[in-house]
């Protein structure tokens, strides 16, 4: 049984609004071939498990991983798929290696949002009898959550817009993403309202892309790389499905997932001990809510923290220096991209978006509307 698990390789495709030139297997293989090349590992000799994250309804194919069986090395071998955010691939890969069953796991997430319609796809996430007939999608559900969160803690649209301005400016340092730029508060607040209080610029745009990472037992990891990124802690938790069962201004599932991950990583004071956070800002307000769920500050305090520059690129705790999901990262791929970005920061290989010396980083991913399922991964250099 392995006592520790490490990320030994990271690769991502460029994320773009539309990749009409490739099917999703070819897209996935761009990331897979890169990560194998960079680590010098081969599917036959080294990889003994594969875990992928994708959604049947996004891919338009039941058991959506059958489309990537060949490229991930799943032919007559072990491969499993989660219809969840990509962060859960890291969670399950970690468990598999810790159990002693597997030594080296290839984790993948892919999605081509451009091939269908996000509003229709996300409407099918709602229960067909009780809530689907309203036509609800993730944006309208998020708007209900944003409104509830903002009114409870007296948070203004200006404060939410600061997240947009920060992340899109951070994204100018990130060559892999497509939605970036230096915007003023007025520009952000002039963005058309889609579902009040959510504006177009508050929404992570449609994107196509894939991320692949390789994880290994301690023994294997030390043979593969001199810069292993250790999985220090993992946690995952589900909240209720029905919006009406949940207090949308709170994120109990994230609190629980974070507590599990911090306990495992022996983190007692997350705000002081964590050097960097990459989280799933599918909508801008979520960056604030998730920071509270991650225990970086108290409930309702993340807006002030953000406006004071605490989470800025050169702040005390940089949050989404990559630009986050607002910069254009596909759904499902989102959380694996968070883990990949956190790992690159720890390795000191984040290029222009490197924030300095990162010893402990937290990556957060979520699945379902309003962050129903939450997954937290703590990564560290030692």
């Amino acid at each position: 049984m392995s006592e520790r698990v490490a990320i030994v390789g990271v690769a991502q495709t460029v994320f773009s609004p539309k990749r009409p030139d490739v099917n999703y297997a070819e897209l996935a293989y761009e990331a897979i071939s890169l990560v194998l090349e960079s680590t010098g590992l081969s599917v036959e000799a080294d990889i003994d498990n594969a875990v992928s994250c994708s959604h049947d309804i996004w891919d338009g194919q039941t058991i959506s991983n059958i489309g990537i069986t060949d490229v991930i090395g799943g032919h007559l071998r072990n491969e499993e798929k989660l219809a969840m955010d990509g962060s859960t691939a890291v969670y399950y890969a970690t468990i598999g290696i810790l159990s002693g069953e597997f030594d080296c796991t290839l984790a993948l997430a892919h999605t081509k949002m451009s091939q269908t319609n996000r509003n229709i796809v996300n409407n099918t996430a709602f229960d067909p009898i009780y809530s689907r007939l309203l036509g609800l999608d993730f944006t309208s559900a998020a708007a209900l959550q944003a409104q509830r969160f903002m009114s409870r803690y007296n948070i203004s649209e200006k404060q939410i817009a600061e997240v947009v301005i920060k992340n899109l400016a951070n994204a100018t340092r990130n060559p892999w993403v497509h939605n970036k730029g230096f915007y003023t508060l007025d520009q952000a607040l002039d963005s058309p309202v889609i579902s009040s209080p959510i504006r177009k610029m508050d929404i992570a745009p449609d994107s196509d892309g894939a991320v692949a990472i390789v994880m290994a037992s301690e023994k294997k990891a030390l043979k593969v790389t001199d810069k292993p990124v250790w999985i220090k802690g993992v946690g995952a938790c589900y909240d209720a499905h029905y919006l009406g069962d949940r207090d949308l201004s709170e994120c109990y599932a994230l609190r629980s997932a974070a507590e599990q991950a911090y306990r495992m990583a022996e983190i007692d004071h997350p705000r002081d001990e964590i050097d960097l956070v990459e989280l799933g800002d599918e909508f801008s307000y979520q960056e604030l809510l998730w920071l509270e769920g991650l225990g970086i500050c108290g409930s309702g305090e993340a807006a002030d923290l953000t406006c004071r520059g605490f989470t800025s690129f050169d702040g005390a705790l940089p949050v989404n220096p990559s630009g986050g999901l607002l910069a254009g990262v596909p759904t499902n791929v989102a959380g694996l991209n968070r883990v990949a970005e956190a790992a690159l920061q720890i390795r000191g290989e984040a290029g222009d978006r490197q924030v300095g010396d990162v010893r402990i980083a937290v990556a957060q991913g979520h699945s379902g509307f309003c962050g129903q399922h939450q997954c937290v991964i703590v990564l560290g250099r030692e």
């Binding site: 030139d21 070819e26 032919h75 091939q115 009898i129």
Partner: protein, 160 residues
């Protein structure tokens, strides 16, 4: 007289889950479909290690996990390796219309290919007229009617 149990009303909600897609054929299938549409030819892709000629053409050889690279022109005749006679009116997803039963699906290994291709068989759909090992020939739509999808193949005819 009805019992109370028989009078329980059960509600169910009819709904069509209608999700539109546009699937990119990708680099490999785009070349296959272009050759089929423009020149009426079948191309498979050969693994540089194990030499398997695969249909449909795809980026990676699943067995060897290497990138496929060699395009191989295949014959438009092959051998029937399996078939079924259908009595269910299965729906064509591109038209929404059913295929009229009875009809036959067959699996044909085109000459030069290691994979088989599945399509309709243009034979009387009775077991006595179809046998494993039959030689079959591809029938395509006329050039001007071909659009670049698998529907450009009409069916397989028996080689007489």
């Amino acid at each position: 007289m009805k019992s109370a149990k028989d009078n329980v009303e059960l509600i169910s909600i009819p709904m069509v889950v209608d999700v539109p897609y546009r699937f990119a054929a990708g680099k490999y299938m785009t070349r296959f479909l272009t050759e089929l549409r423009d020149n009426g030819k079948f191309y498979g892709i050969r693994c540089p290690l194990c030499n398997r000629v695969q249909l449909p053409p795809r980026i990676v050889c699943a067995v060897c996990h290497v990138k496929n690279s060699d395009w191989i022109e295949l014959g438009n005749e092959g051998t029937l390796v399996g078939f079924t006679i259908m009595y269910l009116p299965l729906t064509d997803p591109t038209t929404g219309k059913p295929h009229e039963p009875p009809f036959a699906y067959g699996s044909v290994r085109l000459d030069g290919s290691d994979s088989v291709i599945d399509h309709f068989l243009n034979v009387e759909p009775v077991v006595e007229h179809i046998r494993i090992g039959m030689r079959m020939k591809v029938a395509l739509k006329e050039r001007e009617d071909r659009v670049g999808d698998l529907g450009d193949i009409l069916h397989f005819d028996p080689v007489t």
